[in-house]
Amino acid sequence: MMKMTRFELKKIFSKPVTKIVLILLAVSLCVVSYFAIGYVDYVDENGEKSTGIAAASSLREAKNEWAGYITDDVLQKVLEENALINNSEEYLSTDVIEREKAYSKKQGFSDIREMINWAFGSFQEYNYYRADSVSQEEISSFYDRRTANLAAWLNSDEQESRFSEPERQFLISQYEKLETPFYYEYADGWAALLEYAPTIMMLTVLITGFLVSGIFSDEIQLKADSIFFSARLGRNKAVTAKIKAGFIVVTSVYWSMIFLYSGIVLAVLGTGGANQAIQTSFANWKSFYNITYLQDYLLTVSGGYLGNLFILFLSMLVSAKTRSKALAVTIPFILLFIPSFLSGISVLSEVLALLPDQLLQVCTAIKRFNLYQLGTKVVDAVPIIFAMYFILFCILLPVLYQVYRKTELK
């Protein structure tokens, strides 16, 4: 069996198109890593912006001055520091450079300041200057405001019909379960990594499609099918070897891309902040997933892997059934791009949240409130898509095996 699988892999990797695919993967990796690294910037005391290793290091140094639990004392200190800078000449200047100089002094606590903006604004509205008007007395309600804002939003007229009572209770309970005070430190490496993770995953699935879509149909297109299916193991173990080869290709390409991407980004931007709550970041403040950056990353890459497996094995099934590589290679494009076109239609949001493309963007999906009530239990879309596509993938394997082994030559 191993020998057959090795030959199946050789068939894939000896094709000239494979070289192009590998180059495309390498280019995608470089481009996405470049953008992710550029996501973190640092403004120095002269108001000049920079990115890269040195910028990440300076930003880390600035932010880690505020490292620790975000207690009332820390929040008060942030307000004090913020007010001090707001009253400085640089901040009050109309010159852009001068204002950048002022911002450079806020960088260390900018994440905490953003949390204050969210906490003291209304749930759906963001006001960058809200923190400037928060008083020292108000700040003690910082953590309570997060839940209070949610409750107010859930009880608003526009949301009344959207969530059932158990769903509201579920959200509030999740918010209340979040451990406070937050621990805070520089975590921009993880934030940048997660920001571009869906892009690298989508590119990986699209490009890998070109590698695996021919595993089954090539026998027919090369007219090698007669010999293949008339061989002793042609309708059993040789089919299994093809499935194994597909699995090995999908798995190795995916994890190579993820490890290289993660390695490059974290090596440049740093690994600090892995164990802090994702709510400490601007983008995840509202998420009801009480997880850390590391857990978010693991969830995201696991979802990406399952999504890759499901989409690419579906592509292989289409290849086995239709005997067309061209049709098979379009499957990942259809599954990834059609939902994007439909995303503007709000009535479809509950359906769209369950499509396989969501597995490739779990870090985004966990920010949304796509709830489903199964009996008395309220479940979010993320665990549903994990379970659903894992089951579907498990069903796909024997279906693919049976479809291909029963192939009749015309």
Binding site: M4, K11, E219
Partner: protein, 295 residues
């Protein structure tokens, strides 16, 4: 080894490509002769379990081949008409891969592949990619793959099609060598191939076996005689319209015609010994071209 075709039928959308064939084959070389579209490939594909019959059965030593599944395919070597291959594989890789899907242990496969590469004369190109081989070499690699498991049943669909005369003779000899102690079914529309190799000839027309027997039996059973005559150019048209003409050759004294006819076609005609080609024309004349046309 014994293969029994019992009322075997394959229909495609109501059209019977193979029509109620009853046939028993034992060890020996069977030449399956028929024009294009006679159903030869469909019959062979059923014998290789690549197509399921619409009705009827195929038994190998008394067992249904579709129920035997891998056990039957273990007895089988097949060289299809459109022999596809993996262009980036070397000859050695290709044979080792086919050996793997035939369930041959790697150590045995290495030895067997080496032996067959030498036997089919591909030793010098063992490590050359298949896409770089000539048509004849690819065919030889094809026969080598069919022989990897030393199959008691060897099915060769148009094995010499597209080969130059040298390669064809070489290939024919190779098949003869390999055909000992096994059941070989060889399909072709090149009559001379069958004449040289086959012990028994099966003539297939419109999905049915219309005649079967040894070369001598076929020839002696032909109801009409074969005549040769030299006639003036102006008589040719009239004769070709009236008789099946199996050969026509211009000579300075006139045109030498080979005619299949129960009666003497002209005064100067001499009765000659028929060949398989004459038998073929007798049965498939209509298919070979317009009625009363030459080959």
């Amino acid at each position: 080894m014994n293969l029994v075709l019992d009322n075997l039928t394959k229909e495609f959308g109501g059209f019977a490509a193979v029509d109620h064939i009853n046939l028993t084959m034992t060890n020996g070389v069977y030449g399956l002769l028929g024009v294009n579209g006679a159903g030869k490939t469909t019959l062979m594909r059923m014998l290789c379990t690549l197509l399921k019959p619409t009705s009827g059965n195929i038994y190998c030593n008394g067992k249904d081949i579709f129920q035997m599944d891998g056990e039957y395919r273990n007895l089988l070597g097949y060289l299809p008409q459109d022999f596809g291959f993996y262009p980036e594989f070397t000859v050695k890789d290709y044979l080792l891969y086919i050996a793997a899907i035939k369930g041959i242990r790697p150590a045995v496969a290495e030895k067997r592949a080496k032996e067959l590469i030498s036997r089919v004369g591909l030793t010098k190109v063992t490590n050359k990619k298949l896409k770089k081989l000539s048509g004849g070499m690819k065919r030889r690699a094809g026969i080598a793959q069919a022989m990897l498991n030393n199959p008691p049943i060897l099915i060769l669909d148009e094995p010499t099609a597209g080969l130059d005369p040298n390669e064809r003779i070489r290939f024919r000899n190779l098949i003869s060598e390999l055909s000992e102690e096994r059941l070989v079914l060889l399909s072709t529309h090149i009559v001379s191939d069958i004449e040289y190799i086959a012990n028994k000839i099966l003539m297939m027309k419109d999905g049915a076996i219309v005649n079967e027997g040894t070369l001598d039996e076929m020839i002696s059973a032909m109801p009409e005689k074969v005549w040769e005559c030299i006639v003036p150019q102006q008589s040719v048209s009239a004769l070709t319209k009236r008789y099946k003409v199996s050969n026509m050759k211009s000579e300075h004294s006139g045109v030498n015609l080979r005619i299949i006819s129960a009666e003497k076609p002209c005064e100067t005609a001499i009765c000659v010994h028929p060949s398989l080609e004459d038998v073929f024309l007798y049965y498939f004349g209509e298919k070979a071209g317009d009625e009363n046309d030459t080959l």
